[in-house]
C-alpha cells in the first residue's frame, strides 16, 4: 500500500522561502564582514543582514542591548542613522564591491534547521524582519556573527535613565553619534570593558571612574594608564550602593566591600555623573544559536555560555556556524580583531583545509560575576527588581514566591501557606533557572531576559553554594526579537490546503468520541476517516 501521510500533519508542507542565498551572514561586525567577503571570494552568493540602525522604539525596550534610555533624539532620524551606521562599518564598501548583498536595518528573529525533532524543513532557514516586513530566507550555510551584549547588574536605582550597558553606550557613541550621557562611571575593569571605555573616551565622553568590586583591576595596566591620562579614577574594592536622581541618574554612590561582598569600614564615595555603564561582564549573543537547538556549553575561557564548535566554527546543527564574539569572548580576541575575522573566514569558507590556526582562548569568567552579584544583588532588600520587566526581586527569586499578580499575601514574618518553598525544595541543591523562571516569572518579560539572565544564574549559584558555571542561564526561544503578531503573520500565508486541514489539536476524530460511544475494539483500517472534526 502506498503511503499517504496524515493530511492534518505538517508532512508534505513546503515552507515558502521568499529568497535564497548560498551563504547568509547575520551580523556586520568584523567576523560577519570577513565571513561575507570570504564566501563572496569563493564565488558564492552572499546575503549579509545587520539590524543596525535600530529604531528608537526597539532601543527604548532595551533591545538588543541595554540602552537605558541613553540615546539622544538623533536616533529618530532614520536616514541620518543609516548613514552613520554605514559610515561606521569600515569593511562595508569592500563587501559591497565584492558583490555581497548587504541589508541594514534587518534583524534575524529565528533560525531553524532540520533534526530529529523537526522533519518538515528541507534545510536551514532564517526568519528576517525590517520595520515593515517579515520573511523567511533559505541558505545552505548560515554564519551567525551576532556579537556580544552586556551582563545586567541590579542595584538600587539601576532602572534610571542613564544606567546602561557599556556596549550599548559604545554602540551609541561610535556607531550612531547619539550617546546622551557625557560624564560616565564605569562598573567593571575587564579587558573588554576597558576597551569600550577607551573607545568612549576617544569619542569624546568623560570617563570619571572605573570601579572594580575586587581589590585589584582585571584588565591590562596599560589600558588603565591610558584612561588615567585623561583623568579617569580607578576605584577598587567598591560596589554600587545606589544610583541617585529623578528619572535620570545624577550620581552614583559606591560603598566599600570586602572579598565576600560585605560592606566594610570606610566612607561611601559619591560621584556626580549622568551615566553609569555596566561593564561587569560581556556575554556572547547566543540566542539565535540556542533557540535553534545548537548544543551549548559553559566555557569560562570563552566568556560563559557558548556554542559547541568544531575546528571550522560549525555548531552541532549542520549548516549553522558561529563566528566572532557570539562564538566566544576573551581578552586576546577583544584586543585583536584578526581573531574574529579569522573565525568568520573559517565559518564561511567551503574550501578544504581552511580550518587554519586557532588561538587558544584566554578568558576566565565566573568568580568575577559572582563577586558583583554578591556585593550588590544578594542582600539588596525587598524593593530592588532584578528582573525589571516583570518586577521580580532577588528575595522573590530565592524564595520562589509566586508573582504578585496572584495576590498571595506577602507576610513580613513567616511565609504564607502557598509560599513555604524556597530554592532547595526545587531540585536538591541544583536549581534550574528555567524552573525558577516559570515559577517567579523572572526573565519572562519583553526584554526576553537580556538584563537578568546572568544575574539570576549567579544568584542561584550563590544561594546554592555552587560555582557560576554550574548553573545554566535560562534558555532562549524564538523569536529572539519581540515581534508583533501582525508582522509575524506576514512571514508565511496559510495555503488553502493548510486551512482545509488546520486543526486545533492532532486531528483525530476518535480522540473526541464521547466515552459512552467508543467501540470496544480499535483498528487502523476501520477508524473513522479524515473527516473534518474539531478538537478541544
Amino acid at each position: 500500500m502506498s503511503f499517504r501521510p496524515d493530511p492534518k500533519s505538517i508532512a508534505g508542507t513546503n515552507l515558502p522561502v521568499a529568497e535564497r542565498a548560498e551563504v547568509l551572514v547575520i551580523g556586520g561586525g568584523p567576523a560577519g564582514m570577513a565571513a561575507a567577503m570570504q564566501a563572496a571570494s569563493e564565488g558564492r552568493s552572499v546575503i549579509l543582514v545587520d539590524e543596525n540602525p535600530i529604531g528608537l522604539e526597539t532601543m527604548a525596550e532595551n533591545l538588543p542591548l541595554h540602552f537605558g534610555s541613553g540615546m539622544t533624539g538623533a536616533v529618530r532620524n532614520r536616514n541620518a542613522m543609516l548613514e552613520a551606521v554605514a559610515g561606521a562599518m569600515p569593511a562595508l564598501e569592500d563587501c559591497l564591491a565584492a558583490g555581497v548583498d548587504v541589508r541594514l536595518g534587518t534583524a534575524c528573529w529565528g533560525i531553524y534547521a532540520p533534526g530529529p525533532d523537526i522533519g518538515w524543513l528541507a534545510g536551514p532557514v532564517a526568519g528576517l524582519m525590517d520595520g515593515a516586513r517579515s520573511w523567511m530566507i533559505g541558505a545552505e550555510r548560515i554564519v551567525v556573527a551576532a556579537g556580544q551584549r552586556d551582563m545586567g547588574l541590579a542595584f538600587p536605582g539601576w532602572e534610571k535613565d542613564g544606567v546602561m550597558g557599556i556596549l550599548a553606550a559604545e554602540r551609541l557613541a561610535v556607531f550612531y553619534g547619539a550617546l546622551q550621557p557625557r560624564r560616565l562611571v564605569v562598573l567593571g575593569t575587564g579587558t573588554e570593558t576597558l576597551q569600550s571605555a577607551l573607545a568612549l573616551q576617544a569619542a569624546g565622553a568623560t570617563i570619571l571612574a572605573v570601579v572594580e568590586v575586587g581589590q585589584a583591576p582585571l584588565g591590562a595596566p596599560a589600558m588603565l594608564t591610558a584612561l588615567a591620562a585623561k583623568g579617569t579614577r580607578l576605584i577598587s574594592g567598591h560596589a554600587p550602593k545606589q544610583a541617585e536622581g529623578g528619572a535620570a541618574v545624577e550620581a552614583l554612590v559606591l560603598r566599600p566591600v570586602d572579598d565576600d561582598g560585605h560592606g566594610q569600614g570606610g566612607a561611601d564615595i559619591r560621584i556626580a555623573c549622568d551615566g553609569v555603564l555596566l561593564g561587569v561582564g560581556q556575554v556572547p549573543v547566543v540566542e539565535l544559536l540556542d533557540a535553534a537547538g545548537c548544543r551549548m556549553v559553559f566555557d569560562p575561557a570563552r566568556g560563559g555560555i557558548v556554542p559547541e564548535l568544531d575546528a571550522r566554527q560549525g555548531t552541532s546543527k549542520p549548516g549553522i556556524y558561529a563566528a566572532g564574539n557570539c562564538a566566544g569572548i576573551w581578552p586576546a580576541k577583544t584586543l585583536d580583531t584578526a581573531i574574529a575575522r579569522g573565525e568568520g573566514q573559517r565559518a564561511a569558507s567551503a574550501l578544504p583545509g581552511a580550518a587554519g590556526e586557532h588561538s587558544p582562548p584566554d578568558g576566565q569568567v565566573g568568580e568575577d560575576r559572582l563577586a558583583w552579584v554578591r556585593a550588590t544583588v544578594l542582600d539588596a532588600g525587598d524593593s530592588l527588581h532584578v528582573c525589571q520587566c516583570e518586577e521580580v526581586t532577588a528575595r522573590e527569586i530565592l524564595e520562589l514566591r509566586p508573582p504578585r499578580y496572584l495576590g498571595v499575601d506577602q507576610l513580613a514574618d513567616g511565609l504564607p501557606q502557598s509560599n513555604r518553598r524556597d530554592l532547595r525544595s526545587l531540585l536538591g541543591d541544583h536549581p534550574h533557572p528555567d524552573q525558577v523562571k516559570r515559577l517567579t516569572r523572572a526573565g519572562m518579560g519583553p526584554c526576553q531576559g537580556r538584563r537578568c539572565r546572568e544575574q539570576v544564574a549567579a544568584l542561584l549559584a550563590l544561594a546554592s553554594d555552587l560555582p557560576y558555571g554550574a548553573i545554566r542561564p535560562a534558555s532562549h526561544r524564538a523569536p529572539v526579537r519581540p515581534m508583533p503578531l501582525r508582522l509575524a503573520a506576514l512571514t508565511n500565508v496559510e495555503t488553502d490546503a493548510m486551512a482545509r486541514h488546520w486543526d486545533t489539536w492532532f486531528g483525530m476524530p476518535a480522540q473526541y468520541v464521547p466515552f459512552w460511544s467508543v467501540p470496544a475494539r480499535y483498528t487502523a483500517a476501520t477508524r473513522s476517516g479524515d473527516t473534518e472534526g474539531a478538537s478541544e
Binding site: Y112, L427, A489, N492, E536
Partner: protein, 386 residues
C-alpha cells in the same frame, strides 16, 4: 548490571514520570498515606505537562465530571496556587466552525453541564480582544484553565508535604522482575525496591513498558505554542477558537497553540524540541481570533514532544503481567484531566479499581486487533513497522 546504592531505600509505589499525571497520582497516594516516590529523567513538568494550553474542559472523557468537581478546589487541596480560572468561551469565524464546536456543547449537556450559544455581538462583548470577523460562539458554564507550570510544581510540593519524594534527573535503565512482578525499578542512581509501579512517562512510556514485555502503541509528535507580551485582562481568559487553543494568563500574556503537528521518530523523544516557523502561521490565526491584539508582540515560542495512541485515547490499565504495573498515558490530553486522573490511578493502585468513573474505554484490550503497521496505515510513519 551493577546496582549502585539506591537514591532512596524503597517505596510502596514508584511512579515513573514527573508530569501532571504521575505527580497527581503521587500526590493522591501520598495523601492516603502511601510511601511513594516519583522519578523523572528530567525536571518536574518538563515534558508536555509544562507545555500546553492549560485547558480543563474535557467533555468527552469519563473523567470529565470529576475534572469539573476537582478543579475549583485544587488551590485549597494542594496548598499552592494553580491559577485556575473557571468558564470558557469558544469563538467561531465561520458557520462551519460554529457547527463543529457544537459537539462539545452536546457532550457536556449529556453530562448535565450547560452552555450558551452566543451571537456575534454577544461574543464580542464577552471577549474584548475579538473583532468583527467572529460569527458567534459558545460560552461554557464549566471548564476553565490553569497555569501548567505552577500546577505541576504544586503537585510535587504538595506530595512532598505528605511525605512523598521526587527524584529529578534520574533515568530508568531497567526493571528487576521476580515471580511475574516488578521487584525494583533500576535507575542510573541505583535500584528502588517497590510493591507497585505506575508508568506515566509520556512519550517514553512505550519504550519503558517494552522492557517488561508490555506493548503500548504510540507515536510521538511535536506541537507548538507561542506567547505574547501581556495585555489587559479579559473577563474570561479561556478563549479558544479559529483552530487555536490556549488562554490569556493571569499576567495578561496570550499563550496559544494549534495547527499542524508533525509525527516524529522515537529518537526525537530524547531531544529538547525546537519550535519551527509554524509560529508565523499561528500568529496569523491568533491575530484573526483577536484583531484588537494584532499589535501585541510575540516574545516566545516553544515546542513539546507529545505521545498519541492509535485512537488518541488514554491508556490507564493494569496488564496481566507484570502483575504490579499500572500503565498510564493520556495520549496528548493529560494536563486538564490530571486532578481526576491521579485520583483514579491512585485508587487503581491501592484498591484495584476506580470507583468514580468507568475507565473501560482506556484498556489496552481495545488494541487486541490492532494492525502491526497501524502507524503506516494512519499516515503517521512511512516505515511499515510501527
Amino acid at each position: 548490571m551493577t546496582e549502585m546504592d539506591a537514591p532512596v531505600s524503597g517505596a510502596d509505589v514508584v511512579v515513573i514520570g514527573a508530569g501532571a499525571t504521575g505527580l497527581s497520582t503521587g500526590w493522591w497516594l501520598a495523601q492516603s498515606g502511601v510511601n511513594v516516590v516519583v522519578i523523572d529523567s528530567g525536571l518536574v513538568g518538563w515534558g508536555a505537562s509544562g507545555r500546553n494550553g492549560g485547558g480543563c474542559s474535557h467533555h468527552f472523557s469519563p473523567l470529565f465530571v470529576e475534572e469539573q468537581r476537582l478543579w475549583p478546589q485544587m488551590d485549597e487541596l494542594l496548598g499552592y496556587p494553580t491559577e485556575f480560572c473557571p468558564k470558557r468561551v469558544r469563538l467561531a469565524f465561520d458557520e462551519r466552525q460554529l457547527e463543529l464546536y457544537g459537539a462539545a456543547v452536546r457532550n457536556a449537556a449529556h453530562q448535565g453541564f450547560s452552555s450558551t450559544l452566543l451571537d456575534a455581538k454577544q461574543a464580542q462583548e464577552l471577549v474584548p480582544l475579538a473583532g468583527d470577523g467572529v460569527v458567534g460562539g459558545y460560552f461554557y458554564d464549566f471548564g476553565g484553565h490553569a497555569n501548567p507550570h505552577r500546577t505541576v510544581q504544586a503537585y510535587a510540593w504538595a506530595m512532598q508535604d505528605h511525605g512523598g519524594r521526587v527524584l529529578q534527573e534520574t533515568k530508568v535503565t531497567g526493571f528487576r522482575q521476580q515471580g511475574g512482578r516488578i521487584a525494583a525499578v533500576i535507575t542510573d542512581h541505583g535500584a528502588i525496591d517497590c510493591d507497585q509501579v505506575v508508568l506515566a512517562a509520556g512519550p517514553s512510556t512505550q519504550r519503558l513498558a517494552a522492557m517488561v514485555g508490555v506493548s503500548v502503541p504510540m507515536v510521538p509528535a511535536r506541537a507548538e505554542m507561542l506567547v505574547t507580551e501581556p495585555l489587559p485582562l479579559m473577563p474570561i481568559g479561556g478563549v479558544d477558537g479559529n483552530g487555536l487553543y490556549g488562554r490569556q494568563t493571569l499576567r495578561g500574556n496570550l499563550a496559544y497553540g494549534g495547527g499542524p503537528h508533525e509525527w516524529l521518530e522515537d529518537e526525537a523523544v530524547s531531544t529538547t524540541p525546537s519550535s519551527t516557523p509554524l509560529m508565523s502561521y499561528m500568529a496569523g490565526r491568533l491575530a484573526q481570533l483577536f484583531p484588537r491584539a494584532a499589535h501585541a508582540r510575540i516574545i516566545r515560542s516553544w515546542a513539546g514532544v507529545i505521545e498519541n495512541t492509535p485512537d488518541g485515547r488514554p491508556v490507564i490499565d493494569r496488564p496481566a503481567e507484570p502483575g504490579n504495573l499500572t500503565v498510564a498515558t493520556l495520549s496528548s490530553i493529560g494536563f486538564g484531566l490530571s486532578p481526576a486522573t491521579g485520583r483514579a490511578i491512585a485508587q487503581i493502585v491501592t484498591e484495584g479499581r476506580c470507583d468514580f468513573a468507568d475507565l473501560s474505554s482506556f484498556s489496552l484490550a481495545r488494541f487486541a486487533d490492532l494492525e502491526p503497521d497501524w502507524a503506516h496505515i494512519q499516515g503517521w510513519r512511512e516505515a511499515a513497522q510501527a
